[in-house]
Each structure stands twice: as structure tokens, then as C-alpha cells.
Symmetry: C2
Subunit: 109 residues, 2 copies
């Protein structure tokens, strides 16, 4: 749907925002993102990002048993994670603003 090149640099923030909304685990994040309209974000995408976020100490993980399957790792934001997410949202708004300026002259020809 949305080309993957366009998502670069956004998924990290998007995943952070999903985790902020409600404590969750990787497998479920994938489903959440699809619901929002990002298309199917595969595991090969999710897990490296999660590990990166953890390495940068933006999230912390906690193992918990699942009612139907292997253990899940639930994540939540650290204070640094909240800060990073704020920066991300600010940057996103800047990007939207720049694109709006760019497309302003476009009257749907």
C-alpha cells in the first residue's frame, strides 16, 4: 500500500507511539499498525526496530506468559522514550508543514 521507502524513519516513532498508547508486544504492534492504515508491517521490520529502541533505552521489556502461545515481551516507554517521541512528533509536524507549502500551489490539475 504505502511504499516502504516512504515509511523509513517514521516506523520507529510510530511504534513508540503505539507502545505509549498501551503497553504491548511486538506481534501485536504489527496488527495495530495495519489497523491504522500503514499496511502490513512484517516481523523482519518490527523486531529490529524494537531491539534498536531497547538498545537506545527508549523502551524497556518484560516477559509475561501468553494464554495461547510462547511468552510475550511487553514494552513500555522510558522517560527518554517520551522525550524522543516528542521530538519525533515535532519533526513530523515540520514535515507536514513543508509538504503542505510544497503542494499549496497544486490545484488538482
Amino acid at each position: 500500500m504505502i511504499p516502504s521507502q516512504m515509511l523509513k524513519g517514521l516506523l520507529e516513532g510510530a511504534i513508540l507511539e503505539v507502545i505509549r498508547g498501551n503497553e504491548t508486544y511486538a506481534y501485536e504492534i504489527s496488527n495495530h499498525l495495519e489497523t491504522f492504515g500503514f499496511g502490513e508491517i512484517s516481523e523482519g521490520t518490527i523486531y529490529p526496530i524494537i531491539l534498536r529502541l531497547q538498545k537506545n533505552q527508549y523502551i524497556t521489556g518484560e516477559n509475561r506468559p501468553s494464554p495461547s502461545g510462547p511468552k510475550r515481551k511487553y514494552y513500555r516507554l522510558t522517560p527518554a522514550g517520551f522525550d524522543y517521541l516528542d521530538t519525533f512528533k515535532t519533526d513530523w509536524h515540520k514535515l507536514q508543514s513543508a509538504m503542505r507549502n510544497l503542494l499549496k500551489g497544486d490545484d488538482g490539475v
Copy 2:
């Protein structure tokens, strides 16, 4: 300003849109983008994209003398370029929509 990772996959479409707006050349596009709020997009970024767009036959170039400097290469869109730009804009709207859904629950806490 806007982190470069966030621009990946967007600059190609943005440059195409700038060229659509008025026939122009690479050096000037860089200035235009800065005006719109994309920050300083350097030549190492612009030229590879221009060459790629040309290789994919989305734009065609024409040399013309400059009143003050080396020759300029003015670009304009091909029909395929217009098509590609339409697709790009559609994808951009999808992305905005997905981000809007994602951030909807966020009441600025």
C-alpha cells in the same frame, strides 16, 4: 531540522512536484526546498535523485546558458512523471491518514 531519515522516499516526489510547478534546475531546486521548510538539501542529495528521475524517464533535461555561471540543466516532467507524481501524492495522503489515526488518541499529555 527535519531528520534526513524522515525524508527518505519523500524527496523524490517533492523534487518532482517542484519541477512540475515551474521548469527549473537542480541548483535552484535546492533553494526552493529550503524555502518550503525542508531544511538545507545538499547537492549530494539532489543530483543523484535528479539522475534517477531522468533514468526512469520521469523528467527530461535541456541545457541552457546561465546569465551568471556555468550552463544550467532545466528539467520538465514527462507524462510518466505526471503519473508517478499522482501516485506519490496519493501515497502521501495515505501516510498522513495513517499517522492521523495513530496520533488521534494523543491529547498532548
